[in-house]
Amino acid sequence: MKKWTMLIVLLLSVAAVMGACSSKNAEDVEGGKNSDVKQELTLNIKTEPPSLDPGLATDTTSAWVLDHVFEGLYTTDEDGNPVKGVAENVEISEDGTVYTFTIRDDSNWTDGTPVTAADFEYAWKRVLNPETGSRFAFYLYYIKGAEEYNMGEGTVEDVGVEAIDEKKLKVTLNAPLGYFDKLLTMWTYYPVKQEQVEGNKNWSTDPATYVSNGPFKMTKWAHDSEIVMEKNNDYYDASVVKLNKVTFKMVNEATTFYQMYKTGELDLISSLPMDVLEAEQNNEEYLAVPRYGTYMYIFNVKKEPFTNEKVRKAFSLSVNRELVVNTINKAGEIPAYGMVPPGVSTPDGDFREVGGEYFKEDAEEAKRLLEEGMKEEGWDKLPEIELLYTTSEGNKRIAEVVQEMIHKNLGVQVKLVNQESKTQLANVNQGNFQMARMGWVGTFVDPVINLDYFLGGSPNNRTGWVNEEYDSLLSQSKVEQDDAKRYDLLHKAEKVLMDDMPFIPMYYYSSTYLTSPKLENVAYYVNRQPFLKWAEKVD
């Protein structure tokens, strides 16, 4: 009978599914037969890069692709230090304000034409053109006339960038700048090719019109799915580039990309899911790299009780950072007792090591400071305190532990409030908070970018804390040509900051990776994504 046939089919299919559930696994499929290793690599960029136009990009996802397909006057070596890239030679004037760059003769665009000084002039002026709408234009404000032009007050002719001839680029700065070479490695300073860019708003979304000058060239962009780049044989340093093809998959779900790594669909993943961190820590493929940023709680120094410096310190001293890092995060973060993360090499050693730790956790001392602070202000008890953080599982776990530690060590009950990120940010920007979670990652590796966060006039500084000495030390550091003196000024500035402590530094971030043992020579940086210029697949 027909219905019995149907039924049997149905039961069989159900049985098949059930069977699949119980059978452990089929024999593993062995892949490696050939000794020739395909120089092809697949990794995970997680999300669609918002913009692959170097003049418009503002985020590290976009920068990951941009750093591979473009190259600026300076680039980074294996250790992340700035080295000359497209620039072959640099002359700096006596007063440190005029730079003359000579562009390499063998630097080419992916369409085979040479990269010229005019390409840089065009690119930078385009970023500064108010009509371009570049959000990162202010990273070029060090250049003379740049800010005025970008604000619509000056003219393009007055911008201090000029191609003297085909290969010579003259750049005039407002003042000497000790870290201009680091700044030049940033994507906002990359060149673009005028013929491709001008008049074509979509040039950067279509591989056909996407002309670049880096070690790789983009050959495919399937939105929200993958970006493919291939070796650029016109690149001047092409001989060191081993990989022929790199595919960036966009898989945002941590469990999914972790599984893809485990099945070999991905060769490199970052930001491992929290629940596997412990299990993977002893895996040889696991790597935790310090990341150039600080996780912190900022105070609103205009709202009680954090108007008082001793109360602020008491809160900071009562938190056990080791505990947070080792038992909650477990991803290799470093407890923070200052603002500038490790990773800045200075003539005297790492900036952080030279600066040392500015305070020690001490529950007794914290309690004493709190009492003193309250006495100074004439308070018998503290007002109700709220800690505002952005909704996320990780933030929540840390906030709860911090709440408990403050309660235990100071006897103060902190109320936790979480908000979705843009709402939280709106409240913090308007000063509607007492304590708020924030994070700050340096766009380039120099203490100045971290310390600028607390500048009196900085839009990033939501604490309300303004200190003239601090601001003055930072502005002195910016024009100081001598590196040793410059870092000294920055150490002094950080000390001023930590003496007043308008924030609780919690820890310096880290990045976690799993890298296939078949992949070698990947450069892991503290403030950029892994760089594949020298990477190689091995057997």
Partner: protein, 308 residues
């Protein structure tokens, strides 16, 4: 006449949805350009707001948006400032619809089959087994089922890729994960509707005429039993083909499902509006088609404009 009136009502519906969304969207606190990374200088922000008309009063913004909407220009995304909303929806819809249609086919074919088999074996073991399967299908959320499917078919059996997009293989697991709940619901609807039909006199007549069970069920049974199911699959169809946040996220499908959610978190106003308007257009069109299809399935139903 009916169709004209209906089209008018459709446009009105879309306009109301768009207007309400616009208003609600403007009430959410938060600035699309606010970031806890690099904060842009105030002048830069002003340039940016001007570029998206955000410097103008809200009624003017609304008017400008509606003007663009009439010409089907949905604007440029604020987050991906090199992409238009039209292109985001255009490319995302293909992937979402592919998975959605596949899931739909699986859900209907197996759902109807399961429902009919259960109805024909009313109160027998097969009926119970089918309905237990249906209840499991409804109650297991797909964010549990999806990783389970990945674990079995991709990690353990290595039959299919874990996730991502590109070949037909990539569509199987997401379609399967997406289909279970609707499959179970379709099965339950079909079963109860079929049970109803089986008791009707015309079924007895057909049986008395000596027709085979096969023909009775196929010709007289399903055709009558399917109506309530169709009512249900209209909105289901729309929600499946316009993508689902969870499934697309877990399987890394380049669909538009994520934009419905992410755009709100990012305060990406043009994308919020674009996805909402797009969804409502699809919804009213499909509902309209469903109403039309009744007529063909059951000629007794008259399409009149009085039904409200």
């Amino acid at each position: 006449m009916y169709i004209l009136k209906r089209l008018g009502a459709m446009l009105l519906t879309i306009w109301i949805i768009a207007t309400l969304t616009f208003m609600v969207m403007k009430f959410i606190p938060g600035d699309p350009f606010a970031t806890d990374a690099d904060v842009y200088p105030e002048d830069v922000l002003q340039n940016l707001r001007a570029a998206y008309n955000l410097d103008k009063p809200v009624p003017v913004q609304y008017f400008l948006y509606m003007k663009d909407l009439i010409t089907l220009n949905l604007g440029t995304s604020i987050v991906s400032d090199t992409r238009t909303v039209n292109s985001i929806i255009g490319s995302g819809f293909v992937a979402s619809a592919t998975v959605g249609l596949l899931a739909m086919v699986v859900a209907i074919v197996f759902g109807v089959l399961l429902g009919i088999v259960a109805a024909l074996n009313h109160n027998k073991a097969i009926d119970y087994v089918s309905m237990v399967i249906a209840i499991i299908g409804i109650s297991i959320p797909n964010f549990i089922l999806a990783p389970l499917l990945i674990k079995i078919f991709a990690v353990d059996l290595s039959l299919l890729p874990v996730a991502s997009w590109g070949s037909w293989k990539h569509a199987i697991l997401p379609a399967l994960a997406l289909s279970t709940t609707p499959l179970a619901i379709v099965a339950r609807y079909t079963r109860s509707s079929m049970l109803d039909v089986l008791n009707q006199n015309y079924m007895k007549t057909a049986d008395a005429k000596g027709l085979s069970t096969y023909r009775i069920v196929l010709q007289h049974g399903i055709r009558n039993a399917i109506l309530p199911v169709i009512t249900f699959i209209g909105p289901l169809f729309v929600s499946l083909i316009t993508g689902t946040f969870v499934i697309e996220k877990i399987f890394a499908i380049p669909g538009i499902g994520r934009y419905f959610v992410d755009s709100i978190f990012n305060r990406d106003y043009p994308v919020i509006m674009g996805t909402t308007v797009f969804y409502s257009v699809i919804l009213v069109v499909i509902l309209f088609l469903i109403d039309l299809s009744y007529r063909f399935i059951d000629p007794r139903i008259k399409l009149t404009s009085k039904e409200g």
